[in-house]
């Protein structure tokens, strides 16, 4: 199968899955109690039947259920994610406004955890059974077992409040009007805590996977072959063991990268990070259907894209795939 065929095949599958997800989401969300009109009215501290009726008509909720579903799907077919009457904005705008922050956060967390995690895992495997292995393994386990929000709160108190090293919340210094490099630095500072917090769990995950994968590969025949050639230990680990061991780790990481986009709700909440995870949660508790559906769709689409990208990368780094695909 050549590359174009492969891509086309994956895309078709991906689109089918996405549509199924879109329908499921619609049904799920409509099963939730309350609707956006009620929420708006409730928040205002006053409501009457006429207001609710006005709002429902505005939200399109007075239409028959299937008509609503049809309008929604028809919109998606034309890349129209709908309009949030609550926020008076097209959903796509709202998401696009938030997406960069999420991509920055999750991208940073992902890269840091992948690099640090695989390095830790590789080191631990290399020193399997020694104290440094135990240390790394224990550390990874601890990262893995600590509730994320707990780390988030603790790190805010320690690093932002007590030590004053970095800002505790937000995306940038509001009102500072930095531009260019200064702005990048400012955002970078704000990024440190949330990215590390979010990355901690994944660092642990990748470290553990890398270690296991390395140990598995270390027992492979070709490693013995390399050693029989007189290749030094360090080089055997680097070129033969690590190179092969990292493949499954990267695959899994790629699959998770997609999940990260929609899964950073907690981190975004605790750190007031203006990303789409938070947008989703707000939309959920406001029953802002179109936004909620939009975020779900976009983050699912991210997963699909990341999965395809991962497969692509895998095809490039692992020459065997094409033969077996």
């Amino acid at each position: 199968m050549n590359l174009a065929q492969f891509l086309a095949g994956r895309l078709v599958k991906g689109i089918i899955v996405l549509f199924a997800i879109a329908i499921l989401n619609f049904l799920l969300i409509r099963a939730a109690p309350g609707d956006p009109a009620q929420v708006l009215a409730g928040e205002a501290g006053a409501a009457d039947a006429q207001l609710l009726e006005q709002l429902r008509a505005r939200f399109g909720l007075d239409q028959p259920f299937l008509t609503q579903l049809w309008i929604y799907l028809k919109g998606y077919l034309t890349f129209d994610l709908g309009f949030s009457y609550r926020q008076q904005q097209p959903v796509l705008n709202l998401i696009m406004e938030r997406l960069p922050a999420t991509l920055l956060l999750t991208g940073a967390a992902f890269l840091v955890s992948l690099v640090v995690g695989t390095a830790m895992g590789a080191l631990a495997a290399r020193r399997a059974g020694k104290w440094s292995d135990s240390l790394i393994t224990t550390l990874a386990l601890m990262f893995y077992a600590t509730p994320l929000f707990w780390v988030a709160l603790m790190s805010q108190i320690v690093f932002a409040l007590k030590l004053g090293l970095v800002p505790n919340v937000g995306y940038e210094t509001i009102g500072a009007n930095y531009t260019g490099l200064a702005r990048a630095l400012d955002i970078g500072q704000h990024l440190v805590l949330p990215a590390l917090t979010l990355g901690l769990f994944f660092t642990a995950l990748y470290a553990r996977m890398m270690r296991a994968s390395m140990l598995e590969v270390a027992g492979a025949d070709f490693v013995k072959t390399a050693r029989a050639k007189g290749v030094s230990q360090a080089r055997v680990w680097r070129r033969h063991v690590a190179r092969n061991a990292i493949l499954p780790v990267v695959t899994l990481a790629g699959l998770q990268a997609g999940q990260l986009v929609g899964g950073a709700v907690l981190t975004e909440t605790v750190f007031a990070w203006p990303g789409i995870g938070r947008l989703m949660f707000d939309a959920l508790v406001q029953r802002d259907y179109s936004v909620l559906l939009g975020v779900f769709f976009v983050s699912s689409a991210m997963v699909v894209c990341f999965n395809i990208a991962t497969d692509l990368v895998y095809r490039i780094v692992d020459p065997r795939i094409e033969a077996n695909a």
């Binding site: 199924a20 969300i29 386990l141 893995y144 509730p147 929609g262 709700v265």
Partner: protein
């Protein structure tokens, strides 16, 4: 070498099991240790830990005994962890087994279905499910189960797929055993080991997930889980650190123990990988 010996050789696993046993013991003994409801305010709020021996871990914002909350919470958290893992297994194992054994179109369809669930961001899905079904024990357990089954299905499918071509399964076909019987007596028993390992790790993840949901205010308000306790005390971290520290630490310790034990199990049940430790 037998299983127990191999397991005992792994120090971490033994520590993990010991911690788990302690947690389970606390959970079982909770009504004996603290017969009063953990919800009842019993003393001045914000009593520091290690000061009053009746309240060894101090009291919380409403003057409730933290130690009592912790041991009662052990019951709730463990139960949620175990039950939601069972839910995931109940969905994932038959699905994976069917996909792996049937192969072909059935496999394709079931795996698309699994993929589908893996494509929806899982934490977000859990939140939505709990919001829809309203936060109560059943919906939380269901939500956690629903988002955690796909890896189980994949694992079981993989195992079954490899077992299906195993010669003893083929032999069972040739002697005329029926398909359900083959799946239940030849295939599934041999997938138990990896399922147990995965299950033990999943209990930990479920406890973490429940605590995250609780943190977002999506916990069952009638059950004092550790996640609830952390969430309830988090705004007091600065001046009453103990309120959320102890339950947070309990979660940490339990998840850690589950992982240690799970890895120990894995090594003991799967000696091939354990070689790496030598």
């Amino acid at each position: 070498m037998n299983f127990l010996k191999r397991f005992a050789r792994n120090r971490g696993a033994v520590i993990g099991i010991l911690i788990l046993l302690a947690v389970v013991a606390f959970a079982i003994l909770a009504p004996t240790l603290y017969p009063q409801s953990p919800w009842r305010p019993v003393a001045r709020p914000f009593l520091a830990p290690f000061v009053n021996e009746r309240f060894p871990l101090g009291t919380d914002t409403l003057g409730r005994n933290l130690a009592s909350g912790l041991v009662h919470g052990a019951r709730v958290s463990l139960m949620i962890g175990v039950v939601s893992t069972l839910v995931a297994l109940v969905i994932g194992v038959p699905l994976g087994a069917a996909a792996g054994y049937a192969g072909g179109f059935v496999d394709d369809a079931l795996m698309r279905f699994t993929e589908f669930f893996q494509t929806i961001p899982s934490f977000a899905l859990a939140i939505v499910l709990v919001a829809i079904l309203q936060p109560q024990l059943g919906s939380i357990v269901l939500a956690i189960g629903v988002v955690s089954w796909p890896p189980v299905a994949r694992l079981v499918r993989g195992e079954v797929l490899s077992l299906r071509s195993r010669e003893y399964v083929q032999a069972a076909v040739t002697i005329g055993q029926s398909t359900p019987r083959i799946i239940f007596s030849q295939v599934l028993p041999n997938t138990i080991a990896p399922i147990i390992v995965m299950g033990s790790l999943m209990i930990g993840s479920a406890i973490l997930l429940e605590s995250s949901l609780s943190f977002l205010g999506l916990g069952d308000p009638n059950l004092m889980s550790w996640g609830y306790m952390v969430g309830a005390g988090r705004t007091r971290l600065l001046d009453a650190w103990w309120i959320s520290f102890f339950p947070g630490f309990a979660i940490f310790l339990t998840v850690l123990a589950l992982n240690l034990a799970g890895e120990g199990l894995n090594d003991a049940l799967n000696p091939r990988l354990a070689r790496g430790r030598e």
